[in-house]
């Protein structure tokens, strides 16, 4: 039983890491390789507020989210919209976006290094045990899981029920046709990108309560997020959630029952199997 709960908690962590990239790649069509750095930046903010003023990371997210939203909006307008405008095909946009965001990730690492230094940062927040069904779990992980549920749930509801969400899903499916019905694709894409960045930074603030980060650890998170997004299917929030939970459960199962050394192998094996059986991902659409 504790495998299932631990697996869910880990899945919640993974969902926080991957949800932002899903919005940016699936809706705004930008493969953002600097995603991990945005996560680490959110973590830095939480660390800074906590060590300087004892502000709980659960409150810091209310500052981090709007700031990250604005920063990502600017990033999109300045660096990425010109690429969208001149891309003649989706494939070209992807390549351009990958190259640009790859460069941006180095710039981000350098900026964070200059501002925060290269040292590891970690702090103790809510690191007492909570007892669920007889086993102990870190309160910080449980809090992150609950937040993941709230954030992902709110996102899904918004995308599914609200008019703005419907618009964003429209530009994800068919941006050219969306223009025909009067949707401002450029503005909506910027909104999706900015929202993705805000979610990622929030995720970073939450996971920094139990993970140790430094300016250079972003790349590891980008990789994990990429796997989850591709596995779950690009463009559908439900896919990311299911893939994140599946990965969390699988890794915990393998670590507990088989051997902790095989968790990475199992994760990539799952990735390969899903792609072989269903190349568009669990919830992806078959059309390009």
């Amino acid at each position: 039983m504790d495998i299932i709960i631990t697996g869910f908690l880990l899945g919640g962590t993974y969902a926080l890491i991957a949800m932002g990239l899903n919005l940016q790649y699936g809706m705004a069509r930008i493969m953002n390789l600097a995603n991990g750095e945005m996560l680490v930046a959110g973590g830095f903010a939480a660390f800074w507020f906590w060590t300087a003023a004892q502000v709980s990371p659960l409150l810091t997210v209310f500052v981090v989210a709007p700031v990250a939203f604005a920063a990502n909006w600017l990033l999109y307008i300045v660096f990425l919209r010109p690429l969208v405008k001149r891309a003649r095909s989706r494939g070209q946009l992807e390549v351009d976006a990958i190259l640009t965001t790859f460069g941006l990730s180095f710039v981000s690492v350098g900026l964070m290094l200059a501002v925060f230094g290269g040292d590891y940062f970690s702090y103790s927040y809510l690191s007492f045990p909570v007892h669920i069904l007889g086993d102990s779990y870190g309160a910080n992980r449980v809090a992150a899981f609950v937040s993941a549920v709230v954030i992902c749930g709110a996102l899904w509801l918004w995308l599914d029920r609200s008019r703005a969400g419907l618009t964003i899903r429209a530009i994800a499916v068919a941006p050219d046709s969306a223009r025909l019905v009067g949707i401002d694709v450029g503005k909506m894409a910027a909104l999706a990108f900015a929202l993705g960045g805000a979610v990622t930074a929030t995720g970073g603030a939450l996971i920094s309560t139990f993970l140790t980060l430094d300016a250079s650890t972003g790349v590891m998170f980008t990789l994990k997020a990429l796997i989850i997004v591709i596995m779950g299917g690009v463009g559908d929030v439900r896919g990311t959630i299911i893939a994140a939970l599946a990965l969390g459960l699988l890794e915990t199962f393998v670590a507990t029952v088989i051997d902790p050394g095989l968790t990475l192998a199992a994760a990539y094996l799952l990735f390969v199997i899903i792609l072989l059986v269903r190349p568009q991902g669990l919830f992806g659409r078959r059309s390009a």
Binding site: T6, Y120, S124, T256, T263
Partner: protein, 399 residues
């Protein structure tokens, strides 16, 4: 007539100019330093390496610079980020020698980067007093590269030091003989675990739980839960900084009750104490210092004053001490690299960490292997011959 006078004046001006130039260039000594500022080891270098470079240069310059053959010369640092990539380390060393014409080149950071760049230091004949390389192969290295010195010790003594300390606790009756060992699945963790496991068995311990986990694991609670259910008396983890922090947190969440808790790298970092506060009391790790030694206390105070951060309790003092060895050698024999290497081989040096005397294999045989947090200081409890070890205490419950 006018043209000849002009030419004469120009010639005199040029001549004065030429003689003036070398005098200006001779005032500062260029010191090259290459280490990670980005990449996986940036965190470690930011704690143990870069602050010591800054502290050493400022200390030397504060007393007027290095005395080279009678002239006082100030130090000027040229820093390169090798991105934790050995190819970049090698390129940076080449650039320092060929383009920047650095007079002094400091060794890089970490075992991997030092071993990878030893050939290029050897090709240029640069004295390479490593301070962050942990290797058992000092004799082979120095046979191939006589310019390389090893000061931080080897993996075997470190692993055996952990066994020694736990054996002491067991023989005193403070802990039982059941030990759980985990290690990060990286060359460092695997090597230490492979040395420690048979040594524990030979010392009469029972290995009730053994496991390894991938580098960068985000959730170590399965490992800790499994270790706890094996009911060990002691817990040993050959871990890297992120997992050291994660395992310590998990141990507190699971309330792992052991009389000895050992995590490898980063236990000696100030940020470990910063994160866990009072609950670190009794935790064991690699490294340690002679905390009652005035030289170390003075060094720690200056380190904090100049760089704004405390030194770590393992490699920091060794890094600084090797810079002191270099400094003393240059002041003794000048800037000729071969003379410096001979001087280091032939002499013992008085440094912050104590006496540093390299043996015929260019190896420093005396280094700290195990330290323990006692009253907020990570004191050395076991070494291969350093003074000032304190008695190890049994670990109480997590606070």
């Amino acid at each position: 007539m006018k043209r000849r006078t002009f030419a004469q004046i120009a010639a005199v001006a040029l001549a004065t100019g030429f003689t003036a130039l070398p005098a200006v260039a001779q005032d500062t000594l260029k010191v090259g330093a290459v280490a990670p500022k980005t990449g996986p080891l940036a965190g470690g270098a930011a704690v143990s390496y870069w602050p010591n470079v800054k502290l050493w240069v400022e200390t030397v310059n504060a007393r007027g610079g290095l005395n080279v053959d009678g002239t006082q010369r100030m130090l000027e640092v040229i820093e390169y980020d090798d991105q934790t990539n050995p190819g970049e380390t090698i390129k940076a060393v080449q650039r320092l020698v060929e383009q920047d014409e650095a007079d002094i080149i400091l060794p890089p950071y970490s075992t991997g980067l030092n071993l990878a760049s030893a050939p290029i230091y050897h090709r240029y004949g640069i004295p390479m007093i490593t301070s962050t390389a942990t290797t058992d192969k000092a004799d082979e290295l120095s046979a191939q590269f006589p310019n390389v010195f090893i000061s931080l010790g080897g993996a075997q003594p470190i692993a055996l030091g952990a066994v020694e300390v736990l054996t002491q606790l067991r023989d005193r009756g403070d802990i039982g003989n059941k030990v759980a060992i985990v290690n990060v699945a990286d060359a460092f963790g695997i090597e230490l675990a492979n040395v420690a496991k048979p040594a524990f068995v030979d010392a009469g311990f029972e290995l009730v739980y053994e496991s390894s986990y991938p580098l960068g694991s985000q959730d170590l609670s399965p490992v800790m839960k499994a270790a706890k259910s094996a009911a060990p008396d002691a817990f040993v983890a050959f871990s890297y900084p992120p997992d050291t922090f994660a395992l310590t947190e998990q141990a507190q969440i699971e309330d792992l009750q052991v009389g000895a808790f050992y995590t490898a790298v980063a236990t000696a970092f100030p940020s470990y104490a910063g994160r866990f506060g009072e609950s670190i009391e009794g935790v064991l790790g690699i490294g340690g210092v002679n905390a009652s030694d005035e030289a170390f206390q003075d060094y720690a105070a200056r380190h904090e004053e100049v760089t704004g951060a405390k030194p770590d309790y393992w490699a920091s003092a060794m890094v600084y001490s090797t810079f002191e060895v270099l400094e003393q050698s240059i002041e003794a024999v000048g800037l000729d690299n071969d003379a410096i290497i001979e001087h280091i081989k032939a002499n013992a040096f008085d440094t912050t960490i104590g006496t540093l005397d390299f043996d015929e294999n260019n190896n420093n045989p005396s280094f700290w292997t195990v330290g323990q947090w006692q009253d907020g200081v990570f004191k050395g409890v076991a070494s291969t011959g350093r003074e000032g070890a304190v008695d190890v205490v049994v670990k109480g419950p997590w606070q």
